[in-house]
Symmetry: C2
Subunit: 203 residues, 2 copies
């Protein structure tokens, strides 16, 4: 349910669209009807691995992670999303196939959700949304190249430093064990590294 009253300030998604595109003509009324809202408790599951991927999530408030279970049954975290980020298994969403990943709330989280059909309809009806998503993906794609460089070619402690300087909020909000899995560290190694960094700052 959305309140379209003029006294209410714009929805965070609309603010984000206006900020990214520079287009201030687009409003709540045009875009929000394509979405539903969702609220999840901490540890709530938004998408299950192996189930059909029917929704794309926009984080209004909170934090999500995307992970899969490896051969040993360990959870391997590949992505986080906080406020104003999008999340889905894009490959599966595009064809409504089985998701290769689970999406879980790390905090109490509010999202907008959109089906693939509504997503396509919105993009056809509002060219500004093509522009918006082109820019969103351009950034995401640029970030993924840096990410690949970090995980495949950097020493572990340098990866930690770059990640911390680019995404300080993640370091604050994400549980140690999950952050370690994302970085490809053991929780013990991450804990050692943090102690070392704190010591260096104290000097």
């Amino acid at each position: 349910m959305f309140n379209f009253g003029s006294d209410k300030k714009m929805h965070p998604l609309i603010q984000h669209i206006q900020k990214i595109t520079g287009n201030h003509e687009i409003g709540d009324e045009a875009i929000l009807p394509f979405f539903e809202t969702g609220a999840f408790k901490k540890k709530g599951i938004l998408q299950e691995e192996g189930k059909r991927c029917l929704l794309y999530f926009f984080v209004v408030k909170g934090c999500l992670r995307l992970f899969f279970n490896d051969h040993n049954g360990a959870e391997q975290t590949l992505q986080f999303s906080m406020e104003n980020w999008w999340m889905t298994d894009m490959d599966a969403f595009r064809s409504e196939r089985q998701s290769g990943y689970t999406i879980q709330a790390l905090e109490p989280t509010e999202v907008l959700t959109i089906t693939h059909k509504s997503y396509e309809l919105m993009l056809t009806k509002f060219p500004v949304m093509e522009h918006y998503f082109r820019l969103v993906y351009e950034r995401a794609y640029a970030a993924s190249l840096l990410r690949i460089r970090m995980i495949s070619r950097m020493p572990k402690d340098e990866f930690y430093d770059v990640f911390q300087s680019k995404y300080p909020a993640f370091m604050q909000r994400i549980p140690q064990k999950i952050l370690a899995s994302f970085l490809g560290f053991t929780p013990e190694y991450l804990s050692e590294l943090r102690k070392k960094k704190v010591k260096r700052k104290d000097k």
Copy 2:
């Protein structure tokens, strides 16, 4: 120089746009004037690491790689592009800053090149190009998630198998040493792995 004569078949870029978007109204005349053409010999350099990134490349024929020099002066290859793929340091191109990467031809290669200003102008003038690039980046972004999963979470020989089944052409056309660098293997390890795979097939 482009020949717009009606007897000539469409340029590969226009064919690609039509294929991806399903829009068959867009033609050579509208889009190609935004581009220049370039031809490079094998080992020719299209973009130098540390120089401003002013161009975006579309591969008409041939094969490119994107790499950087690590602390030890070793070349680390992160991406390849063949026919109908785009390549640049997207992060640097968006702001015309210094490129973090070198782009080199692995074969005699023909490209289209576009400046950032022309790219933005083309996107403003032709909404179908917003649609095209949104879809191109959506795919690239989906592929990058799989790539991150492969390099960070898969055993090396499984990574090799997945890569080979998804991109068989790369395996044929890319020199062993560069392919090994891309996969994060030593050339010796790659050579051993290939021998093992061939043996298994012979059985």
